[in-house]
Every structure is written in structure tokens, then in C-alpha cells.
């Protein structure tokens, strides 16, 4: 039974189902305006609102990419308050890209430019996201605050600590939802080094993290509220990181 919905309405929007990364990359190199569809969570609602890119390139069958479609899509979207943003930044991830003319790798700190922009060129495909080999040897924590459980987060905090002789040797701290991109509060990172216990962390660490934040107000919360959330969430994340490091 044909639905009246299935008449020729958009002969212009094409659909592609490549099975290899090379095929996908070739397609992206063909024309500006071809959009990758991975999990569909962002693209499909935009189609519903009337967006009609020149073509959709589905990544569902591309072997290497299949299992990481959610992460790849999220990384490319670069929403500063999304869960992966702070987490990947604190983990020190590397983004691997391929275009027709070759491959390159970019550290997450350099990949995300802010305001939903990334260093990816239109003809490049994110083929993988890798994490440092020694990630498991440190300790970490991830805390998210949302207005209700399961809601997209308002503020996120991720912490990664490396230890030597019972003391923090280096730290990566990432705060999301408090600026145009997830950021690393540098002074806070240096203030946590050399500590053995979470009680040794000075109050100045939290003040400096708040000072470096550049939150804006939106429907999910005001800038003031986001600033107020940082100390409590950061304290909790560090407590978890220290507790895991001690064991």
C-alpha cells in the first residue's frame, strides 16, 4: 500500500551507503554539502525541520566506523556541554581524519575550536578517536549535572590524574558547559599536582577554575548558576579521582 507521502518530492537529495572508508571519503570529496549520517540523532530532526543537504552519506555500513558512530558524530558536533566533550578533553584523546589526499591526526585540544566548530575540513571523515595508551594507569572521574536525570547536561567535569610515589604527578581537568568549548583550567591543573590527598587541595583551585570559566545563560541555566556548580562538581570529581588513585 503506497502512502501519498511517497511521491517524488525531493529528487535533489541523494543518499549513499558506502561500505569502506575510502568510498565514504571519496563521496565527501565530490561535492560540498554532503552530510554524514551516523546515529541520526542530529541529522534526522534537521531533515524534519526542512533541511535538505545535497546528499546524505550513511556511515552505517562502513566497517571501521560502525561502532563509533555516536562518538564521531558527537566530536564533530563539538557541543561544549555534551558528555564526550569534557571527557575526551580530560582523557587527552586524538582525532584521526582521512581525506582523499591523505590522513592526519589532531589532538582534541586543537581539534575543537569553539562555538560548535572543529578543525575538520568538509572533505574529511573522522575515522577514529584514540585515547592515550597509558590511560588505564592513572585515575579519573566524570561528573555531569543536568536538571533532570538523562537530560542533556548543563555542566560537566572530567578529571584525569597520573600518579608517582603516591602523589599526583600530572592532571588534566576539563569543564564543559561553561564556555564556547570545554576548557582546561590551567591553574587548577597545576594546583592539584603534588597532592597526595584530596584534603590538601587549596580553595584557590576552585576559585581559579571558576575564574577561567566563560559561561553564558540559556534555557538550561544562567551563567551564574553554572559558575556556582563548578566548585561542587569539581570537588566531587577530584574526590573520586583521588579515591581511585589511592587504591
Amino acid at each position: 500500500m503506497d502512502s501519498p507521502l511517497d511521491g517524488p518530492r525531493d529528487p535533489g537529495m541523494r543518499f549513499f551507503l558506502p561500505t569502506t572508508v575510502d568510498e565514504a571519503v571519496d563521496l565527501l570529496g565530490v561535492a560540498a554539502g554532503y552530510v554524514c549520517v551516523a546515529g541520526g540523532g542530529l541529522i534526522v530532526p534537521s531533515l524534519r525541520s526542512g533541511a535538505r543537504p545535497a546528499g546524505l552519506v550513511s556511515l552505517r555500513r562502513v566497517g571501521v566506523i560502525r561502532n563509533m558512530t555516536t562518538i564521531g558524530g558527537t566530536v564533530c558536533r563539538a557541543d561544549p556541554s555534551a558528555d564526550y566533550s569534557a571527557a575526551l578533553l580530560a582523557a587527552g584523546a586524538t582525532i584521526h581524519l582521512r581525506a582523499k589526499d591523505g590522513e592526519r591526526s589532531v589532538a582534541i585540544d586543537d581539534f575543537v575550536l569553539g562555538d560548535n566548530k572543529t578543525a575538520r575540513r568538509a572533505d574529511e571523515l573522522v575515522t577514529s578517536v584514540s585515547l592515550p595508551r597509558d590511560l588505564g594507569r592513572g585515575s579519573g572521574a566524570y561528573i555531569r549535572f543536568s536538571r533532570v536525570d538523562g537530560d542533556s547536561p548543563v555542566v560537566t567535569v572530567a578529571v584525569r590524574l597520573e600518579w608517582r610515589d603516591g602523589v599526583v604527578r600530572s592532571a588534566r581537568i576539563a569543564v564543559g558547559g561553561c564556555g564556547p568549548k570545554a576548557f582546561r583550567p590551567g591553574e587548577a591543573e597545576s594546583l592539584v599536582c603534588g597532592r597526595a590527598r584530596v584534603e590538601e587541595i587549596p580553595a584557590a583551585l576552585f576559585d581559579s577554575a571558576v575564574a577561567e570559566a566563560r559561561p553564558v545563560s540559556d534555557i538550561k541555566g544562567s551563567a551564574d548558576h553554572r559558575r556556582r556548580l563548578i566548585p561542587g562538581l569539581l570537588r566531587r570529581a577530584l574526590a573520586q579521582g583521588f579515591a581511585a588513585g589511592a587504591s
Partner: protein, 784 residues
């Protein structure tokens, strides 16, 4: 209502049986038919053009380009309506805007086309020229001197009730209720406390969006299936808007995916009919979630000032109330809702004197209208918060303070109506005992790193009735029964409860009852499924109709058995028998005899019509701008205790556990009652903590589930204890009272009180979002 002795059997599966809904299997299989599941041959799809401006003059509408689009079959605007204005209590609106739009989202035009994509494309081709006007978005803006006026011709509008002594240009109702001498009462009081409480707009968020399918037959009669709480209101709304006689309007209710008040009045039905008539083909309109949120209805935002005088040993003396509700662009039910706020402004407590004043105002936002609780939610939040604040001022336990002032059976409510039954004391007792209220510390306790818990109590009293209703009960030839009440089951289990009550009256099993689907061609008048009225009022009508059926059964059986009428009674299983004897005859045989025998007397059919009839008593309470409250039925009482936990680092409050005790008179279906308690409590939880429609310059900024958060499984506690208390009402054949709204009404106050207990901060504005609570916990400026 009481019939021959031995009536109201409960041994066969009927009243009191916790059975699943009659239509549960169909719903579980995905086979239930809701409006959007229906198609008709040649059916077109409709779409609405909504105003982008919150307030504007319509200078010009040109639909020519839209009409020219291939596949477009009809385009209608306000110019196609026969009347200047229609309305419920104030004739202040037109289904499609004429000359002016008064809220962003107001329907301006409608299109029917071969498919939904063409219809939506056609909307972009309708040229509308607007001249924006200054707008008002809050109660204060609407009442400010020199404020833009939404309804300049208000004075000339037809009004169905006395709206009171209006003053402000945007005021649509001003009502008062006065009992006793409040000034003298304050003088006598040792403590007088005055506080103001505010609430926000809540969205019904039924999962099934507004939908209607209309089709005309060759004789000009329209049949309309729609998602509605009332087929009689669909019929009336179409009749009034389009001048079609009711005899030519057939309104049918298929399965309904929730209503909660938002579907009490017509949503898209009039548009579907207009388009079907213009296109001469069936038309279906289904709103998107965004359209439904933006264009339909909300609960009224409110501001309520309470001033209460009390003696130092905790006796309530006097209360003064001033309440304002923000009615949005068109009045609809606003006058009744502000009336209800005044009516319940005492709470279930005794006072010597009360003076309550209410104002409803117009603003340039969507209609605020009926939503589960109907004004009582807002006033009960204020009253129950205030009771705790009074208790604190007196140094009394919040429960002891309430117990000292509880209204009792025989007392008169504000307005003079007597309380004929009350399980409130038992509800409080049960909620207190099961929650461990007396064993947990007042002022909360630490429950984790940076977390504190507290307990709060909230009481409620609400209606069990509204308007009028009727029932027809027919015995079919095989002794089974057709029950026809026009009652729309919106998901609350109405059909099942009706069938259980009918079976209970006749000694039958619920499977013997055929519940006739609501259809204005066939069904007797029923004002609608709202006001927690169905079990109580429709139950009374069913009782009356069944009384007639039993009388007729016994009459015929007396002829068949050769026994005097007085010696006969009905017995479980569909039998008429001789009392203390053996002779009997089955319903089936009596039905055959009645229907076919020459002396049978004709088919057995019983009818009853019920209306409430207790007007406000002017000797008890002086009032103006009030509908005569011949509406309450049986007062429905409840008490809830809530345990809340606050995360002080984030301001997030979570409800850990709740004990909800409600007096339902008699639980017709205990499982369904529990479901109403649990569901109502969680809607109240959303209202108290997370749900808020937010506007910026008159534009709704969160018209979807992504931005408007209703509770999920992680937000609602599993540990919601439904405690059924039964204190039968003498007016109902089984003593049943309403349960649909009370669980929602009681919970916000209990939650606000629990949070105050946990962290010592009194939140007087809902919702208590993490942001608001964090600021209240630490009002100092955030650094830097």
C-alpha cells in the same frame, strides 16, 4: 439509590476487583485505535498556520498562492467563520483569528492537502501581513496603568456569568467570597502571617498530540473522531463555531492518549470540520508536539497572597486571600478556575472568618485553561506551604497544627455546602504512621556527603462532580447488558470502572457488560471526563438506571413466576429469584419474555439523569463573580507525606519516597486507584520541581520534550505508597468519590514542605529548580 435489600453484590467480579482495564490487551498489542491510526478513503491531511507574533493586527491574508499549489484542496481563514465571536463563559474568541492575533501560536489559517508535506509547504505560501502591537506577558504587565489592551471590545462581548466588579482593562473576572469578619478575626489572633506564593505554567504533555478526523456525508452531516475528553463539548464547540445543528454533528471518541484537562474543550476539531466542508473530503489534522505545546493550552500561572491569623495555641481564626491567575489570550475556563481557587482557599481546615478575592487577567500567551487540579493545585500549594510557615511561627509540629484545625463531617465548607463524609483524619493518620513521621527528626537530617533529607506533609480536598450526566442501561436478549453513558475513557480507566459499577448493581460479571463507545448519535449527555467526576457522578446515574432495570426485571419475572413482586430479588449471576425460595428465572429468559412475548411489556431499559444541586448559601458566604457552586458532589480528601533529598552542591532535589493516602469512598477498582495516585503524584512532582513553560518576548522557548522536562523513571521514586482509605459517600450507590485530581493537588505542597524541612529554606515559587534552590541556599553573588 438504595434498592431492595441484598443489592450491590460484590461476589461476582465487579466492584472492588483490581482487574486490568477492559481494553488493556488491545493496548498492549499495539492494536488500540487512536485518532491518527484512522484513515478514510480520499482522506486529506490538514495543517495549521500559526501566528508568529504575540500581538498584532492582521492587515491582510492572501491565500491565492497556497491554493494554487498542486495537491492543495482547501484553505480556510477566519473570514470563513459565520460569527464574530464564540466562547465558553465569555464570547471572546474565534477558532481562526479575525483581525487580530493575541498570542504567538494562535491559529490563523488551515490547509488541507493530499499529503502532510504539501500541506506544510502550502502554509509557507499563505501571505499574511501583520502590524505588530505592544504586548503584555505577565500579570503585572497586564494590570499596569496604560497597558496594551487585548480585548478592546470586552464590554460588548456576550458573557454567560456575572464576572464581578472588573477594574483593570485586561481583567476578565474578579470574584469574592466572604464569610464572617476577617478584620475582627485578625484582631483576635496572636500571630498574623502574610506571604505570597507563585506558580508557573505547566503543560499537559499527554503523549498523544491533538488530533481530529472529520468527514461529511452526502446529507451534510459531519462525523468527527477526535482525541477529546468530552464528545458533548466537541459537538457544542462545532455547533457554536460553525452554526451546524447538533443533529448534524456526530462526535465519536476512539482511544484517547491522555487529556489531563487539555482536551476538555475543542483543540483542532473545528479546523478539521471547516476543511472537510470546504474540500468535500475527509480531513485529518494531527498537531506536531511543538504545535501542540505552543498553540493549545497550559495551566494558569498564579500569584497568591495569603494572610492568616492564628491563636498562640494553634487555632486558625481568620484568612485573607488575594489571588491572581494569568489566563492567556482567551478566557475559556479562567473564570471558573479563579472561582475554584477561592472555593478551596481555606484548605480542609476550620476558620472563623475568610475573605478571598480573585482576579483573572488576559496576557498575550496561549490560553491557560483546564488542567488536572483546575486551580486547586495552585491554591493548595500556597495553603499547604503557608500552614507549615504558620506551624513554624508557632513552634508547632506541622502535623499537630493541621490536626488541631481539620474540617470535620457536618461542618460547612466555604460557600455553605456540608461535608457529608470525610476520611481525612484517617488519611493523615495512615500517611504519618507509614512514613515514620514521628520517628524522624524535624528540621531534616544529613543523608550523605553534601546531602540532606526532610519530610513534608500536604493535605488536599477536591471535588467529585461537575455539571450533569446521564446513563442508559439496556438488557439485551441474551441477558447481557449494554451500558451507555457517553463517558470518554481518556486512559484513567473510566470504561472499566463504569462496567464494574453496572455489573455490581446487577449482580453480573464485568464481562457481561458491553460499554458503548461514546458517540453523540447514541450516547446520552455527559459533560465530560474531568473534575474527578466520572466514578462519582456517572456512577450515580448508572445506579439510577440500574434501579429501573432491576424493577423491570422483577416486574416481568413476577408475571413469569406467578409470584408477587415484593417477594422477588436479583441474585449474583443474572438471576431473578424468590426470596427464601427456590423458584427463579435467568435474566436471559426475562429479557426474551419482555422483548418478544405479547404480554412481555417491551424491551427492558433503564435511564437516569443526574445533576448536582447545591448552590452557594448567601447566609453563610457572601459572594460575587462566582458561579453557583452546585458542583462539588462529594468532597475528596487526601494526605501525602513526602521524603525529599537535596544535593546542596547542585540544588537538585529528589523525591526519595512518598506516602499518599486518599479517601476514595469505595475503591471500585483498587489497581486503577493506585495508578491514579501514582500518576497524579508524579505529575505533581514535575510541577513542583522541573516543569515550566518559558516565554521570551512572547515566544515559547521550550515547546518540545527536549526543552520541557516531564518526569522519567529516574525522576519519579519507585517507592510511592498508595494508601486507599474508604469513607463511603452516602450519595453514591457504592460510596465512591473522585480520585483523578487529588493526588496531583496534594503533592507540590508536600514536596515544598519536605525541601524546607531538609535544608531550612522556604521556596515560595514553583518549580523549585536546582538553580532557584541553589540561589536560595546561598544568595551571595557567585564569584567572580
Amino acid at each position: 439509590m438504595s434498592g431492595p435489600s441484598g443489592r450491590a453484590f460484590k461476589r461476582v467480579r465487579n466492584v472492588g476487583a483490581p482487574i486490568p482495564r477492559l481494553e488493556a490487551v488491545e493496548k498492549a498489542l499495539g492494536a488500540a485505535v487512536y485518532t491518527d491510526d484512522m484513515t478514510l478513503p480520499g482522506m486529506l491531511h490538514g495543517a495549521l498556520l500559526l501566528s508568529p507574533h504575540p500581538h498584532a493586527r492582521i492587515v491582510m491574508i492572501d491565500t491565492a498562492r497556497a491554493r494554487a499549489l498542486a495537491g492543495v484542496r482547501a484553505v480556510v481563514t477566519g473570514a470563513d467563520l459565520p460569527h464574530t465571536r464564540v466562547g465558553m463563559l465569555i464570547f471572546d474568541e474565534t477558532p481562526l483569528a479575525r483581525e487580530r492575533v493575541r498570542y504567538a501560536g494562535e491559529p490563523v489559517a488551515a490547509v488541507a492537502a493530499d499529503d502532510i508535506e504539501i500541506a506544510r509547504a502550502a502554509l509557507d505560501l499563505i501571505d499574511v501581513r501583520y502590524e505588530p502591537l505592544p504586548a503584555v506577558f505577565t500579570i503585572d504587565e497586564a494590570l499596569a496603568p496604560g497597558a496594551p489592551v487585548l480585548h478592546e471590545d470586552f464590554g460588548a462581548y456576550v458573557k454567560v456569568m456575572d464576572l464581578g466588579p472588573l477594574e483593570g482593562a485586561n481583567e476578565l473576572c474578579r470574584c469574592r467570597m466572604v464569610h464572617g469578619d476577617v478584620a475582627a478575626g485578625f484582631t483576635r489572633s496572636d500571630v498574623v502571617l502574610e506571604r505570597t506564593y507563585e506558580t508557573s505554567a505547566q503543560y499537559h504533555a499527554y503523549l498523544e498530540p491533538a488530533a481530529a478526523l472529520a468527514t461529511f456525508d452526502a446529507l451534510g452531516k459531519v462525523t468527527i473522531w477526535s482525541s477529546t475528553q468530552s464528545i458533548s463539548r466537541v459537538q457544542a464547540n462545532i455547533h457554536e463555531a460553525l452554526d451546524i445543528p447538533m443533529s448534524k454533528i456526530r462526535a465519536i471518541a476512539p482511544r484517547i492518549g491522555g487529556g489531563f484537562g487539555g482536551k476538555s474543550e475543542a483543540q483542532v476539531q473545528v479546523f478539521a470540520v471547516m476543511l472537510a466542508r470546504a474540500a468535500r473530503r475527509p480531513v485529518k489534522i494531527v498537531l506536531s508536539r511543538e504545535e501542540d505545546t505552543m498553540a493549545m493550552r497550559s495551566r494558569h500561572p498564579s500569584r497568591i497572597r495569603l494572610k492568616t491569623g492564628v491563636t498562640k495555641d494553634g487555632k486558625l481564626v481568620a484568612r485573607e486571600v488575594e489571588a491572581w491567575i494569568d489566563g492567556g489570550a482567551y478566557a475559556e475556563e479562567s473564570p471558573v478556575i479563579i472561582n475554584v481557587i477561592l472555593f478551596f482557599s481555606t484548605g480542609p481546615y476550620r476558620f472563623d472568618a475568610v475573605s478571598s478575592t480573585g482576579h483573572a487577567v488576559y496576557t498575550n500567551k496561549l490560553r491557560a485553561s483546564a488542567m488536572r487540579g483546575f486551580g486547586n493545585v495552585q491554591i493548595t500549594f500556597a495553603v499547604e506551604s503557608h500552614m507549615d510557615e504558620l506551624a513554624a511561627a508557632l513552634g508547632m509540629d506541622p502535623v499537630d497544627f493541621r490536626l488541631k484545625n481539620l474540617i470535620q463531617v457536618g461542618d460547612q465548607w466555604l460557600g455553605g455546602q456540608p461535608v457529608r463524609s470525610s476520611g481525612l483524619g484517617r488519611c493523615v493518620e495512615q500517611a504519618i504512621e507509614r512514613s515514620g513521621w514521628r520517628t524522624k527528626p524535624r528540621g531534616g537530617w544529613v543523608s550523605g556527603e553534601g546531602r540532606r533529607r526532610g519530610l513534608g506533609i500536604g493535605l488536599t480536598c477536591h471535588t467529585s462532580a461537575f455539571m450533569s450526566t446521564s446513563a442508559i442501561v439496556r438488557l439485551m436478549e441474551d441477558g447481557t447488558v449494554a451500558l451507555n453513558t457517553g463517558s470518554v475513557d481518556i486512559g484513567q480507566g473510566g470504561d472499566t470502572a463504569m462496567a464494574q459499577m453496572c455489573a455490581g448493581m446487577l449482580g453480573l460479571d464485568v464481562d457481561d457488560i458491553c460499554v458503548v463507545a461514546p458517540d453523540t448519535d447514541a450516547s446520552p449527555y455527559n459533560s465530560g471526563t474531568n473534575a474527578s467526576r466520572s466514578t462519582h457522578m456517572v456512577g450515580r446515574a448508572i445506579g439510577g438506571a440500574c434501579d429501573q432495570v432491576v424493577a423491570q426485571l422483577c416486574d416481568r419475572a413476577s408475571m413469569m413466576l406467578g409470584m408477587p413482586r415484593e417477594r422477588l430479588e436479583i441474585r449474583p449471576g443474572g438471576v431473578v429469584a424468590v426470596r427464601d425460595g427456590n423458584a427463579s428465572v435467568a435474566f436471559r429468559d426475562v429479557a426474551m419474555f419482555a422483548t418478544h412475548a405479547a404480554i412481555g411489556g417491551g424491551p427492558i431499559i433503564g435511564t437516569a439523569a443526574v445533576t448536582q444541586n447545591e448552590p452557594l448559601d448567601p447566609a453563610h458566604t457572601q459572594s460575587e463573580g462566582m458561579l453557583s457552586f452546585d458542583a462539588v458532589g462529594a468532597f475528596a480528601f487526601g494526605a501525602q507525606v513526602v521524603e525529599a533529598e537535596v544535593d546542596e552542591a547542585t540544588g537538585r532535589a529528589e523525591i526519595v519516597e512518598a506516602w499518599c493516602a486518599h479517601d476514595v469512598g469505595q475503591a471500585i477498582n483498587p489497581s486503577a486507584v493506585e495508578g491514579q495516585i501514582q500518576g497524579g503524584f508524579v505529575q505533581g512532582l514535575g510541577y513542583a520541581l522541573t516543569e515550566e513553560m518559558v516565554w521570551q518576548d512572547g515566544q515559547l522557548v521550550n515547546p518540545s520534550f527536549a526543552g520541557y522536562k516531564i518526569p522519567s523513571t529516574l525522576d519519579a521514586p519507585y517507592a510511592i505508597h498508595s494508601i486507599i482509605v474508604e469513607e463511603p459517600d452516602p450519595g453514591h450507590p457504592f460510596g465512591a468519590k473522585g480520585i483523578g485530581e487529588p493526588p496531583l493537588i496534594a503533592s507540590p505542597g508536600a514536596i515544598a514542605n519536605a525541601i524546607a524541612d531538609a535544608v531550612g529554606v522556604r521556596m515560595r515559587r514553583l518549580p523549585i529548580t536546582p538553580e532557584r534552590l541553589m540561589f536560595a541556599l546561598d544568595p551571595s553573588e557567585a564569584k567572580p
